[in-house]
């Protein structure tokens, strides 16, 4: 298990040292900042109008509620683009450079390799999230008040969604020989899962409930509203474990042949 951390640290550092890591980190921060700015501006405009008693009901809508719930929903879309860029490096790149061969001859179990690689990505994802928290002191500094519930639960939900997406990307990477294929396939799968929610919306009958239960966004949506529902947490845990398990199996296939 200790070795899994060694692998994770190596992968984490290699993200930091690569241009793609720096790009993802910077661009994600930029996008997050842009969304936050736009949402705050919208809120300010609506509040101004409200004070002119056009929409008296908006008065009750807190800043946290208005800004952060949309903020996290917007970020979940941004995630669809960034996750493939991260996960394509994990296995596909090592395969292309044939470094995986070396890793397999080290005294490591397959589980340690998969878990280590996953953990390295999760750390990097957390590093992506960290600077976005700068919005919180910013709001306080500007004289606003933070309703901590939705913010904390929103972050938890976003973390669960992100780590689930990463596990899917890890699996796709473990079965692809090349980074581009890995990124494209991950992106396509994520978009498909994202659209599942809509598909469920236009469906009728018992299958609609089933498809809707599969859609990650459906489970994610309540977090930014500050609603903590155990069933959604369980869903994401299963999602992640399922793809980690598949990744482990994919790595183990080299043991099957012959």
């Amino acid at each position: 298990m200790k070795h899994a951390f060694t692998v994770a640290r190596k992968d984490f550092l290699s993200y930091l040292n690569s241009w793609i890591g720096v790009f993802v980190l910077g661009f994600f921060f930029l996008m997050a900042g842009l969304f936050f700015y736009l949402l705050v501006m919208t809120y300010v405009r609506i509040s101004m109008n409200a004070s002119q008693s056009l929409y008296p009901s908006v008065e009750g809508l807190g800043l946290t509620r208005f800004v952060y719930s949309s903020y996290f929903l917007n970020l979940s879309v941004v995630l669809l683009f960034f996750v493939p860029l991260l996960t394509m490096r994990s296995f596909a790149e090592e395969k292309r450079h044939q470094t995986l061969e070396l890793l397999f001859t080290y005294p490591l179990s397959d589980f340690e390799i998969v878990w280590g690689k996953y953990l390295g990505m999760v750390w990097f994802f957390e590093l992506m999230l960290l600077p976005t928290a700068v919005t919180i002191p910013l709001v306080i500094w500007a004289g606003g008040s933070i309703d901590w519930g939705p913010v904390v639960v929103g972050y938890l939900g976003f973390w669960l969604l992100g780590t689930a997406y990463l596990s899917l990307g890890l699996f796709v990477s473990s079965i692809s020989e090349n980074q581009v294929v890995s990124a494209m396939l991950t992106f396509a799968t994520l978009i498909f899962l994202w659209a599942l929610d809509w598909v469920a919306g236009v469906m009728t009958g018992p299958w609609a409930a089933f498809v809707s239960a599969l859609a990650p966004i459906r489970h994610y949506r309540e977090f930014p509203l500050g609603i903590l529902d155990l069933s959604h947490i369980v869903y994401f845990c299963f999602f992640t474990l399922f793809f980690l398990f598949l990744s482990l199996r994919a790595v183990e296939t080299r043991n099957w042949k012959g």
């Binding site: 070795h3 060694t6 692998v7 190596k10 550092l13 290699s14 040292n17 690569s18 450079h97 044939q98 470094t99 061969e101 070396l102 397999f104 001859t105 080290y106 005294p107 490591l108 179990s109 080299r254 043991n255 042949k257 012959g258």
Partner: protein
């Protein structure tokens, strides 16, 4: 140190390895040869724990490698063929990573890594990115990481591939030194390298082990006749020399190979186990023929290799 029992490996319908067994003693340098597609890579991959064989067992340092892969792999150092390394890591970072994974104790890790760095002549590039290194240095990094953790068995896959002559000599010297301490398996297609460095040779062909032994042993099994070269000064007495050589009982196919610069070169075959050299030199001296050189021709490893592989191909 390494014991391999009846390992086989199939990929679909292709049999890559067919029931191979051998043993490697402690401190031995073994050359692993075979034409492309003979199953060398598959064998090395099994021996280094990359994947298990379809059948059979591998013991490394008394441990069943695939019963406890993590424990077994601790005894193994592997330098991969293409020297595929993490290009975006610094040399010192990468070696430190290897040391962590190979469970070198934290206290001695820095010293251990330093020692291997120095040993492979990497001091000057310690803080450079591996991706920026020249081929020779990359090869050394590959070697250094295989030495980390002081494994009992070292597998070197084409260690001098793509190096310039100077670097080749350096790496070979290093390999010979390493062979004094640990068991070493050298996988290469450069046959002179094998005869220079290795104690024993294994030859694979078509997934089967076709020969095993020292170069001399292999040579002995292949040869029915021994060839002797004789060089004599004074070309005007060539006929006389030829007559003397032909006069020996057991000498066959006596002929003049070449006449050049007042020197005559003879060649003759004698049956295996019969050495005529002392008798020839005595006879030449008695007749006052100017004998310049006399030597028995050894088969080079290339010739041995070609003969074995061709013989096996013909048999199958």
């Amino acid at each position: 140190m390494v014991r391999v029992e009846n390992i086989s490996k199939r990929f679909g319908r292709l049999t890559a390895l067919d029931s191979i067994s051998f043993e490697i003693r402690q401190g031995e340098i073994l050359g692993f040869l075979g034409p492309n597609g003979a199953g060398k890579t598959t064998a090395i991959r099994i021996l280094t724990g990359f994947f298990p064989p379809g059948d059979g067992k591998v013991w490394i340092a008394g441990q069943d490698l695939f019963k406890d892969p993590r424990g077994g792999k601790r005894h193994i150092g592997y330098m991969p063929e293409s020297v595929s390394l993490y290009d975006d890591m610094k040399v010192s970072e990468f070696l430190d990573f290897s040391a962590c994974i190979k469970s070198v104790p934290r206290k001695t890790r820095a010293v251990h890594v330093r020692e291997k760095t120095a040993r492979c002549g990497l001091d000057s590039v310690r803080n450079r990115l591996i991706g920026q290194l020249s081929k020779g240095f990359r090869q050394r990094v590959g070697l250094a990481q295989s030495l980390i953790g002081d494994p009992d068995v070292l597998f070197l896959d084409e260690p001098t591939n793509g190096l310039d002559p100077q670097q080749i000599i350096e790496i070979r010297t290093l390999i010979r030194e390493l062979g004094k301490e640990s068991t070493l398996i050298l996988c290469t297609h450069i046959l002179p390298e094998v005869s220079m460095v290795c104690d024993r040779v294994l030859i694979l062909n078509g997934g089967k082990l076709v020969a095993s032994g020292t170069t001399e042993e292999l040579e002995a099994t292949l040869r029915e006749q021994q060839e002797i070269y004789v060089t004599m000064g004074d070309r005007h007495r060539a006929e006389e020399g030829l007559a003397v050589l032909s006069g020996f009982p057991g000498a066959e196919q006596v002929r003049i190979v070449q006449e050049k610069n007042d020197q005559v070169y003879f060649s003759l075959f004698v049956s295996k186990g019969r050495d005529l050299r002392s008798e020839i030199s005595r006879a030449f001296v008695e007749r006052n023929l100017p004998l310049l050189e006399i030597r028995s021709v050894r088969l080079s490893l290339e010739e041995i290799f070609m003969k074995i592989v061709i013989r096996e191909d013909a048999a199958s």
